[in-house]
């Protein structure tokens, strides 16, 4: 009998525990304790840096803390959607640019950020657009961009007394000189196929199609995807083919990085995200970066890709606090912190801060006097099948293999997109 009583008491305590717990924490919050916001992201490598940035924010707003909780990049989109559907999503989270996040906004998962103080002062219209609805309503604060260009080995360039090429024909001439001297001109390879799309073709495309304005001509149907500019861009890929490393079909991204680091290759068409990798692998290695040249001196463009924005969960319990954080993100202080903590991931702020990392600063300063545009396929060519990304990637690879000419590749791009992309269907008027 006595045993039974003790047992029942234990059950009662056990059952009451969640209630007691809830009471305790509820009490705490009312007492003005800190609110903790969770932040979702796909940047698993940045845990330490983001913590530092969030601590800087918490020094300003002592009763708001931010917990960074990243997910593996390949699963991020699917995991975030499931969390949003199930009501367990973080308060704040990183947003992919363009279509993917726009879909989340349309389904009501993202808070409308119209009128967020600082948003319109800190960012240009073009840099808000990747996280805004088609009518211009913003639902995300622009956070980070990555840039593209050509890394080069300063010592080899000095030794062969080469100068920075200003046009594409000059670049190919430089490549020939490098090859004659026994080096590999470009470390790029197609063993990891995405590299051909993202750091070769879409890297050089803005300089050939005329940046943002040029891209708009294709997306409004004024130009066809197989006109002379696109053919010239594909021809540029063909021009590079003889200057890639031997066996490039089977060399992956890591092999390319090593070829450049081991000073076997003199140039590497690459993205700014590699800055910290090259610095940590070989701190004494002298390298720098120049802008990918276009057909003439006048074609001054850079592929400056809007990569991550910050969105607010429309069902968050702490919207007011989260908005304070988003507002802080629009300040130059936050932009400088992000730029310095994450070299190679650039703040999108109008008032570009000068960065402490010399490589990152050199990369970012290429933007001065050049037209900027995102990677070509992102804004509107991913929403159908076959998508523009795979068409650009696969046809560029076929050019490298010598199975297609530049004109045939451009025709294949036009033909593929004309299957679903309205402006491509009746273009050229």
């Amino acid at each position: 009998m006595k045993n039974k009583c003790v047992f029942l008491l234990m059950i009662a305590v056990f059952l009451a525990m969640p209630v007691i717990n809830a009471f305790a924490t509820g009490d705490g919050e009312k007492g003005g304790e800190a609110v903790t916001l969770t932040m979702g992201s796909w940047r698993v490598d940045d845990v330490k840096q983001i913590k530092k940035i969030c601590d800087a924010f918490s020094r300003k707003y002592p009763d708001i803390r931010i917990k960074f909780d990243p997910t593996n990049p390949p699963e991020y989109n699917a995991v975030l959607r499931t969390q949003l559907e199930g009501g367990t999503a973080p308060d704040l989270f990183y947003l992919r640019s363009f279509g993917i996040s726009r879909q989340l906004y349309k389904e009501g998962y993202l808070e409308n950020l119209k009128g967020l103080p600082g948003l319109n002062d800190a960012f240009t219209k073009e840099s808000i657009m990747p996280w805004a609805d088609t009518d211009g309503t913003p639902y995300g604060v622009p956070l980070l961009a990555v840039s593209h260009g050509i890394y080069y080995n300063v010592d080899i360039f000095k030794k062969l007394s080469l100068s920075i090429p200003g046009t594409w024909p000059e670049l190919i001439k430089t490549a020939r000189a490098i090859k004659d001297a026994g080096y590999v001109p470009f470390a790029n390879a197609s063993g990891d196929e995405w590299t051909i799309a993202e750091i070769v073709f879409m890297n050089l495309a803005p300089a050939f199609i005329g940046g943002y304005e040029g891209r708009m001509q294709y997306e409004t149907g004024k130009r066809c995807f197989n006109d002379e500019h696109v053919a010239a861009a594909f021809q540029a890929v063909a021009d590079m083919a003889p200057y890639l490393p031997k066996g490039q079909e089977a060399l992956n991204y890591y092999d390319s990085q090593q070829l450049f680091l081991m000073q076997k290759a003199a140039m590497w068409m690459g993205g700014s995200w590699d800055i910290s990798f090259f610095e940590s692998e070989n701190p004494d290695f002298e390298w720098s970066v120049f802008a990918t040249p276009g057909p003439t001196e006048k074609d001054k463009y850079i592929c400056f890709h809007m990569d991550a924005g910050m969105g607010l969960n429309s069902k968050s319990k702490y919207k007011a606090e989260a908005k304070l954080f988003l507002e802080w993100l629009t300040t130059k202080e936050a932009a400088t912190l992000f730029g310095n903590e994450l070299p190679g991931f650039f703040p999108v702020h109008k008032d570009i801060p000068s960065l402490t990392n010399k490589h990152a600063d050199a990369f970012l300063s290429l933007n001065k006097g050049r037209g900027l545009d995102v990677r070509w396929a992102w804004p509107s060519l991913l929403d159908g099948s076959p998508d523009g990304y795979s068409l650009m990637q696969n046809n560029a690879i076929l050019i490298l293999k010598g199975e297609l000419t530049a004109k045939q590749a451009a025709d294949a791009l036009q033909k593929g997109l004309a299957q679903w992309f309205e402006p491509a269907k009746n273009c050229g008027n």
């Binding site: 699917a78 995405w194 991913l382 099948s385 690879i397």
Partner: protein, 319 residues
């Protein structure tokens, strides 16, 4: 309490009318585990193949649409038939190379020559390594810039044979299949060795006395006697290869590079149902579940055919 339970159990056991049903009690745990962890997810997956929607919980019923787009969509169906064809090639190379070599090694090992245990260890070694390690090592060996294979070929003046091995759409899949065969060859070997040991010495001896050659003994006596094991090995190879994923993932990424030439049903499934296609990376669980169901039906047909054939054979043998 305790005594009450025991007496209840005893009651069930003693009760004559239900005594013959007691075996059910012993099946229940296994049945529960099987239903919860195997059968239920399988049926859920089949159910899912009739739905569509974004994210991990598609909830929009579409009937057979997922199957229709898997078989007819201009982009999706090309990938599907390509992956199906590649899987058959992958399986064919394993059947031919891995199992034939397995039988060959087994007949050597079963003859118990001096030092056979050393050879057994060597043959078994690759199987004990992780597939990711195997993939990594072989990718390095085959690397066109710093790989050992091309260095060896250059040293013996066979430069003309040098290829970007894993970058050539024609040869990447055969090469990965051969590496996978090399990794797993010990499993059929072990099974064949065990089977060959069961062939009784009297049969072999009497055949020898009758003047049969070694080859005749092997083909006319040993092979027919271990035929059931050959069947099991084939079915295991079939099931293992049609669900293969890891070696391709390790050596050719989940996209089956170059140009989808090494894409198998497993990697195609991973891309459709779990990872999504780069760069959008939004998986389509419905189509993925449809693909999983098709793979399941393929496997089921294969295994049932084998069961039917082996049963027929047994019946004929008994007659």
């Amino acid at each position: 309490m305790e005594t009450g339970k025991i007496s209840l159990l005893n009651g069930i056991l003693r009760k004559k009318s239900s005594a013959h049903l007691v075996w059910i009690l012993f099946l229940i745990p296994a049945l529960l585990v099987y239903s919860i962890f195997m059968a239920f997810p399988l049926f859920q997956s089949i159910r899912l193949s009739f739905f569509t929607g974004k994210g991990l919980r598609p909830d929009n019923f579409v009937g057979f649409d997922n199957y229709v787009s898997l078989f007819t969509d201009p982009v999706l169906s090309v990938r599907f038939y390509n992956a199906l064809r590649n899987t058959f090639i992958f399986f064919g190379i394993h059947m031919f190379v891995q199992n034939t070599l397995g039988l060959l090694f087994a007949s050597f090992l079963a003859s118990k020559f001096k030092g056979h245990s050393v050879y057994r260890t060597i043959i078994f070694m690759p199987t004990t390594l992780s597939t990711l390690v195997i993939g990594f090592i072989w990718t390095l060996i085959l690397n066109p810039q710093w790989g050992a294979l091309n260095k060896i070929l250059t040293a013996v003046h066979l430069d003309s044979l040098i290829r970007p091995w894993l970058g050539d759409t024609q040869i990447a899949l055969p090469i990965i299949s051969l590496i996978s065969s090399w990794q797993w060859v010990s499993l059929p070997t072990m099974m064949f060795v065990a089977a060959l040991f069961t062939v009784s010495d009297e049969i072999v001896e009497s055949a020898m006395i009758d003047g049969a050659s070694n080859a005749a003994i092997f083909w006319r006596f040993k092979i027919p006697l271990i035929l059931p094991v050959i069947g099991i090995v084939s079915v295991l190879t079939f099931v293992g290869n049609f669900t293969a994923f890891d070696i391709i993932f390790a050596m050719a990424t989940h996209r089956g590079e170059p140009m989808y030439s090494t894409d198998l049903l497993g990697t195609f499934f991973y891309r459709t149902a779990i990872a999504g296609e780069h760069p959008v990376a939004e998986p389509n669980m419905g189509v993925g579940a449809a693909l999983a169901t098709v793979t399941f039906l393929l496997l089921l047909t294969g295994v049932l055919t084998w069961l039917f054939l082996s049963r027929k054979q047994r019946l004929e043998a008994n007659r």
